[in-house]
């Protein structure tokens, strides 16, 4: 069965329409169910004693005074937790050479970053546990800390993990063509150094987990704010030595994830270990201060880049030298080498050129570990690529749009393999650029910019084309040995009243997964979306799946839902055919009714069919299949990833006296293939853009030379707020993937991928007449004035 997506008047045409989210009314009425909202009988609270040192040997841990605080139940050291919980090593076989030492749930001998959990206090209330935690006396012997990225490999720098030999966690060099020759013969070579700041996700709901262990049933249940319940099931089972089938992970409402909640955190595993030991429910909810030191960080990169162009603006070669410092451990199980690896994979992404060299060097240091965070590596690669392309355009006196048009892969060039060896099935760079130009009235804006410049008003227009990696196959993690499912499944069943229940392995983090699945299932079966109830986030209930990451929910989970829905429809029609004495091919289901396909005449409501199947099965022919439940799984196989593309533009004004940037407007045209719910896609794009704008203008984790985090509060780590953010115009081009009937690719990361580059290019566009240029994010007022030579130290 196929769906004629081209016909908007087809029956049950819910795919492609804006349908409200079924879970939204609950959330606007204060009826959400986040982990911290759950209270269980005998529930205890755990608070962690965290290292105040970036690097220190752990001596005696004195707990007597803490034990005396009213309400304290038990205090655990790392050694005690290690008796029930094995350490993990975060490497993947396909990331050759990646190394990382074993990491314990609680540090045992040595602590390696400020905030690493060292001991755990369990009490009857969070307040009592905090009071006691402050009284736990740990004898630390400070060790030299490694805190500078670019000197991490110098001989004079101490080796953070002596067993590892050096501070290099991972290095990959990719080379295609003859890069040196291309640079040697180029008309123009432009070179720059870029910095992206260390970020963290700042999910409004802090990391949260509530774990219960019932020894009588031999069952562990974890209510967990996570993106990947099945992955966590495996992790808890493996490291606490439980059968996987005896661990249940439930993920109700989650207050924001963005990649932060897809990793294994030592304090969360420790919580599960403590529940196992104490045989009672234990809750851990990070407070905001520990979020800053213990949620994963990301994007801490310094990149040297060079681009070679000919006199016509054709890109001849790119040469990228990326460095990143990941903290003390590679993060389990996805590893912390992926971000640097993505920079290698994604630089130059939109452009048809031949000679490409990129290397990433991933080093250890005594800071909070970094790992995958929304748009992993994309904002970095796009900023470097688009920054260089703009600089090359300026160097040869070409308009930034024109140089892109001359280099982007032609819309009819696909399939094609990039110099980074990425395979593109079908992209639409030119169509997207055309649409952007029309949406923003590029020529008009340029005229306005020029007129205002005459009056001393400095505005800038920045363009950033990009590609986005979505719908990952096992090539992302599975081939490296991680038990992370790239496949996803959906079970769809019809109940006696004709209503439909869909159980999916992808999860809802607020992006609208459940609405998207409801639409697909509704169209696939032939019922209104309101008759579909979607259930996600329970390993004991849903088909096995990967959850939410790498923009896979719609493309992978959506296709599984479509196929299971179509299979259910076929089952229903087989029964209907027997009941109505009609060939099932002549019947269809529309709006909850079995109808004649040809005439649309109603033959039987689904609730009547349900009544017969479930309660009067005796009246149906013996042997008639009557399976009103169907499960299908989907995995991509033709391409390792489904790439999408898009282009963003920023229009802003720079105050050249104070260095302040005012964002005036932002545009994004993107191509995520088949759009299932236009509103949800647009809002993913907008939210993603603002996350990228935060990186461009505000967000930066600061450490001092000793590894102390300096701005670990929301007053000091600046996130984008409503007053400074612009309105955003979003447009689409649709190039469905041929890998699935649905044709959907991902849209969750496009906004974040391109926004920082667009802002950087816009600022530099504004500053160019003054001979200034910024390349280190965030672009603070001070950095802008320094680039202009306005600050005297």
């Amino acid at each position: 069965m196929t769906i004629s997506f081209g016909n908007p008047d087809r029956p049950n045409s819910y795919i492609g329409k804006t349908v409200p989210r079924p879970n939204a009314p609950r959330l606007v009425q204060g009826r959400g169910k986040y982990v911290d909202d759950i209270v269980l009988p005998r529930m205890a609270h755990v608070v962690f004693v965290r290292s105040p040192h970036a690097h220190a040997r752990i001596g005696a841990i004195e707990t007597a005074e803490a034990q005396g605080v009213k309400g304290v139940l038990r205090i655990f050291t790392g050694a005690e937790i290690a008796e029930v919980c094995t350490p993990w090593v975060a490497v993947l076989a396909h990331l050759k050479g990646l190394k990382s030492p074993p990491q314990h749930a609680l540090a045992v001998d040595r602590t390696c970053w400020v905030g690493e959990p060292v001991a755990a206090v369990v009490a009857t209330s969070r307040a009592a546990a905090e009071e006691a935690a402050a009284l736990v006396d740990v004898d630390y012997t400070p060790l030299p800390a490694v805190t500078d990225m670019m000197t991490a490999l110098d001989a004079a720098t101490p080796v953070l993990h002596p067993d590892m030999g050096d501070n290099l966690a991972f290095r990959r060099l990719h080379e295609e063509g003859d890069v040196d020759a291309a640079f040697a013969s180029a008309h123009k070579v432009v070179e720059a150094r870029f910095k992206t700041a260390r970020h963290t996700g700042v999910t409004l709901e802090p990391r949260s987990i509530l774990v219960d262990w019932n020894p009588a049933e031999g069952q562990m249940t974890a209510w967990h704010a996570t993106q990947a319940p099945h992955m966590m099931q495996t992790v808890f089972a493996k490291h606490l030595d439980l059968p996987e089938g005896r661990v249940r992970v439930i993920c109700d409402d989650v207050g924001g994830s963005y990649g932060i909640k897809v990793h294994v955190y030592p304090d969360e595993v420790a919580t599960a270990a403590i529940a196992r030991i104490m045989a009672r429910p234990v809750k851990f909810v990070a407070d905001r201060l520990e979020s800053f030191t213990t949620d994963i960080h990301a994007r801490d990169h310094e990149i040297g880049g060079r681009i070679a162009v000919d006199a016509d603006g054709k890109i001849l070669a790119m040469d990228i030298d990326d460095w990143t410092a990941i903290g003390a451990y590679s993060v389990y199980p996805r590893t912390s080498a992926i971000e640097g690896n993505q920079v290698v994979n994604l630089c130059g992404g939109p452009y048809d050129f031949a000679h490409y060299r990129a290397q990433t060097s991933v080093v250890f240091q005594n800071k909070t570990p970094t790992c995958q965070y929304r748009a992993v590596g994309h904002p970095i690669a796009v900023a470097v690529t688009e920054g260089l392309v703009d600089m090359a355009a300026a160097a040869i006196g070409m308009d930034p749009v024109e140089i892109r048009r001359r280099n982007m892969y032609a819309d009819d060039a696909y399939p094609v393999t990039s110099p980074a060896k990425m395979r593109f099935e079908g992209l639409s760079h030119h169509a997207s650029m055309d649409k952007l130009m029309a949406l923003m009235d590029y020529e008009g804006l340029r005229a306005e910019q020029a007129a205002l410049r005459e009056k001393g008003i400095h505005r800038g227009i920045g363009i950033a084309s990009f590609i986005e990696l979505t719908n990952p196959s096992p090539f992302m993690y599975g081939i490296g040995g991680a038990r992370i499912s790239a496949q996803d499944g959906c079970t769809v069943r019809m109940d006696p009243d004709g209503s439909i229940v869909a159980l999916s392995g992808v999860t809802e983090q607020g992006q609208g997964t459940e609405a998207m699945l409801a639409q697909i299932v509704a169209e696939g079966v032939g019922v209104p979306p309101a008759r579909v109830r979607v259930i996600t986030g329970d390993t004991q209930v849903t088909p096995y799946g990967g959850g939410t990451w790498a923009s896979r929910g719609a493309g992978i989970g959506g296709e599984a839902a479509l196929q299971s829905a179509l299979a259910l429809k076929a089952s229903i029609l087989e029964v209907a055919g027997a009941m109505l004495q009609a060939p099932s091919e002549a019947l269809d289901i529309r709006d909850g009714q079995v109808v004649d396909t040809a005439t649309g005449e109603a033959r039987m409501p689904l609730e009547e069919l349900g009544r017969i199947v479930y309660f009067r099965g005796d009246t149906l022919p013996k042997g008639l299949p009557r399976e009103l439940v169907q499960t299908r799984h989907f995995i991509t196989s033709d391409y390792p990833f489904a790439f999408t593309n898009g282009v963003q533009a920023s229009y802003l004004e720079v105050d050249t006296d104070t260095g302040e940037v005012k964002l005036l407007k932002h545009w994004c045209v993107e191509d995520c293939g088949r759009i299932i719910n236009p509103q949800l896609v647009d809002e993913q794009i907008r939210g993603g853009i603002v996350q990228g704008l935060g990186g461009a203008l505000y967000e930066e984790i600061h450490y001092d030379a000793d590894g102390q985090l300096l701005n670990g509060s929301m007053a000091d780590y600046l996130v984008p707020m409503a007053a400074e953010m612009p309105d955003m115009i979003v447009g689409h081009v649709e190039t469905p993937t041929m890998e699935s009937a649905l044709g959907a690719k991902g849209a969750g990361e496009a906004g974040t991928a391109g926004a920082p580059a667009a802002v950087m290019n816009a600022i530099n566009d504004a500053l160019r007449p003054m001979g200034a240029q910024v390349t280190a994010m965030p672009f603070t007022p001070e950095r802008i004035l320094r680039a202009m030579g306005q600050i005297e130290d």
Binding site: E130, D716, L718, T780
Partner: protein, 277 residues
């Protein structure tokens, strides 16, 4: 984190509050709007405080003109200062300040007395009161005393309030004909503490200029004031940059703040001139 308070008591009146403070063995802490104190308690930057909640003492709230001054009760909330007609008439500088202070929900509870007593060097109200030449009224076990704003702010979070005293009111001179006020600041985001800010008051007798977020306390920029009185705008900018000693932190360096203060002064002067025109 969860706050760990030593104890709490609600004062019925000022005398009761003073008794409570006296009984607190040096651990007494006056709780007014709580918008800074409770945040600090929640971060465990302050533990074991014996909280003396004065927020229900009605006598400490409200704005009046008496004895030729504008009297603002210590518990007058930011939101009320922003809408009070007497403040609008006599101290428009404070109204301008309100729009820069934090966010609506904070302004609904934060009090001017609390802001002055907290003495955050980046806060607007202390600099306003300094620029306006205000007087801070304190009441203690030994009675009442008045402290000039110039003498009130001592250091970061440190004022002339003695142990056991409570800030009860602020008085400001009534506005004179032709007097003008400008508050100007640059913050990273709306409601953030300023990277630097200035309060400029122009009276017949001359200019008064205070600067905030450029040192351990709000400062009266006397050298710049002297240049302004002499009609030397460029000299005033230079003098201001010379007489401040701003901090460096994760938001900006001292050098940036020094530069910014000069830019802000130029703009504040343009604002004054613009009003004249």
């Amino acid at each position: 984190m969860k706050a760990l308070a030593g104890g709490y008591a609600r004062a019925k009146d000022v005398a009761h509050a003073l008794d409570l403070l006296a009984a607190a063995d040096g651990m007494g802490r006056v709780l007014a709007g709580g918008q800074s104190l409770i945040a600090a308690m929640n971060m465990r930057l302050s533990t074991g405080d014996m909280l003396v909640d004065i927020s229900r003492i009605e006598a400490l709230r409200g704005v009046t003109v008496e004895g030729g001054t504008l009297r603002i009760g210590a518990l007058t909330r930011h939101v009320d200062i922003g809408t009070d007609p007497l403040v609008a008439e006599h101290a428009p500088l404070l109204v301008q300040a309100v729009h820069h202070i934090a966010h609506a929900a904070i302004r609904n509870r934060g009090t001017i007395g609390g802001s002055l007593a907290h003495a955050d060097p980046a806060a607007e109200f202390p600099a306003c009161v300094l620029a306006l030449g205000g007087t801070i009224h304190l009441q203690g076990p030994d009675g009442m005393r008045a402290v000039a704003a110039e003498d009130f702010f001592v250091d970061v979070f440190e004022t002339a309030i003695a142990e056991g005293e409570i800030l009860t009111a602020i008085t400001l001179p009534l506005i004179e004909p032709g007097e003008r006020h400008v508050l100007i600041e640059t913050a990273r985001r709306s409601g953030d503490y300023a990277l630097a800010g200035l309060c400029l008051v122009k009276r017949a007798a001359g200019h008064r200029l205070s600067a905030f977020s450029v040192g351990p306390r709000p400062i009266l920029a006397v050298a710049a004031m002297e240049r302004l009185d002499a009609g030397d705008a460029a000299g005033a900018v230079q003098a201001l940059r010379n007489e401040i000693d701003p901090p460096s932190d994760t938001q900006a360096s001292a050098a940036y703040r020094r530069h910014l203060a000069g830019v802000l002064l130029t703009r504040a002067l343009q604002d004054l001139t613009g009003e004249t025109a």
